[in-house]
Symmetry: C2
Subunit: 219 residues, 2 copies
DNA sequence: ACCGCGCCGATTGTTGACAATCATACGAGC
DNA sequence: GCTCGTATGATTGTCAACAATCGGCGCGGT
């Protein structure tokens, strides 16, 4: 074979991780609305596993902060108030700002490549007018941004925060910007990176987040 | 009774959370060195619970990134290389920097009060010369800093990062600054907050983290 | 009518047993 | 002598049953 280096250990996710991914996705898209109780028996039956692995998966989400547990009563999807919205976006700002700095002082070229691709997806979604697809692309863009920083801890944190962001959008009637504005907002980010203009980039990210907070304020 | 508002719901932690806290602490202090496998049967016997709750607790730590799982093989404490050290401190910088900003634009007085108390503990520890106590106080100070920001998500992230920080210190022969320097480093942070000098504060936090990275470099 | 009490179904918490997989040691074959 | 295949013990993954707790209902008392 031509290259031997790209051989990776065969991915073996644990059952708990598989289930956690599905649950996280369901929570993210609002399949389980905030405050909803997750009944063990019912979910276990649906996933066709026993309650053991399911409980392991749910404990992961508790640790992640997506579920809140009341002893002997059950696990519930967290509810998000205005304070949470602000907390989430400010935490994202902290993470993504650092990611931007790392990108600017790291492999900028690769980041531009990946983000340009993510931006293309966003444009496609915007043209389709599908809000769901736009949100997906938006989320993917920001995750790509953090991934490009090369800091796996930032990436993990961003992942959770993006899920919570999506919960806000689902819960708060999706106060989303116009498609063309959404694209423009992200394009200028890529441009700033490509131009190597760190100061501008950091200002843009900050506006991006702070604007989102006020946009979602009058829930 | 004089005040009724301070009544809190009786704390009912789940068994998984209790166990997770103990395990996290053990990992943090290096009781389980990086790379060590956590044997279920042995730990379950030690905690005097069955493997069920123990596994739930361990899944929490996996989600937290403190354990790495290999299917059908077991769970292992993550190992930390030089890259991880940098990742951890830069992630901390992201979090704590934002915490500083929130404090400066929020309830500065309360923050100064809490941090001054934490600083006092640090001084006491420094005077005792006990490295362990100094690390504890150092960690408590930084956690207090993030807690004062009032952002629970930042707080949760900081908690995990501080555990990892401690792992670095334990693994890398505790390349720790001199006691008086440690105290000074933190005192100027409190001073900057008290003075309301945000720019200085942010610069200090950044130095604090970046210096730590280079200090731990020649492992 | 209202409050307290106790019962009952339902759900969560926990356990021990069973199945599947892995790591190691041993022996056969080349 | 080395490699490959196999048996074995140990550990993880999964499950179904048991125990404990919760929420709601009805009953009796005041």
């Amino acid at each position: 074979m031509s290259e031997l280096g790209e051989l990776e250990p065969v991915a073996r996710q644990s059952t708990a991780e598989l289930i956690a991914d599905q649950l996280r996705s369901a929570i993210m898209y609002g399949v389980f609305a905030p405050g909803t109780q997750l009944a063990e028996a019912e979910l276990a039956a649906r996933f066709e596993v026993s309650r053991g692995p399911l409980r392991e998966a749910m404990q992961r989400l508790v640790q992640e902060g997506l579920l809140r547990g009341e002893r002997h009563r059950g696990l519930f999807v967290i509810d998000l108030d205005e304070q949470d919205v602000a907390d989430i976006y400010l935490a994202r700002l902290a993470i993504e700002r650092m990611a931007c700095e790392l990108i600017m002082h790291g492999n900028r070229g690769e980041a531009v490549a990946h983000l340009t691709e993510a931006l293309t997806e966003l444009v496609t979604a915007a043209e389709s007018g599908d809000r769901h697809a736009m949100s997906d692309a938006d989320q993917a863009f920001h995750l790509a941004l953090v991934t490009c920083s090369g800091n796996s801890r930032l990436e993990r944190m961003a992942q959770t925060l993006l899920v919570e962001t999506r919960m806000c959008l689902a819960a708060l009637q999706d106060h989303y910007p116009r498609p063309q504005d959404l694209v423009a907002e992200h394009r200028i980010l890529v441009d700033a990176i490509a131009d190597g203009d760190e100061e501008r980039l950091l200002g843009l990210i900050e506006s991006h987040m702070r604007d989102s907070i006020v946009r979602l304020r009058p829930a």
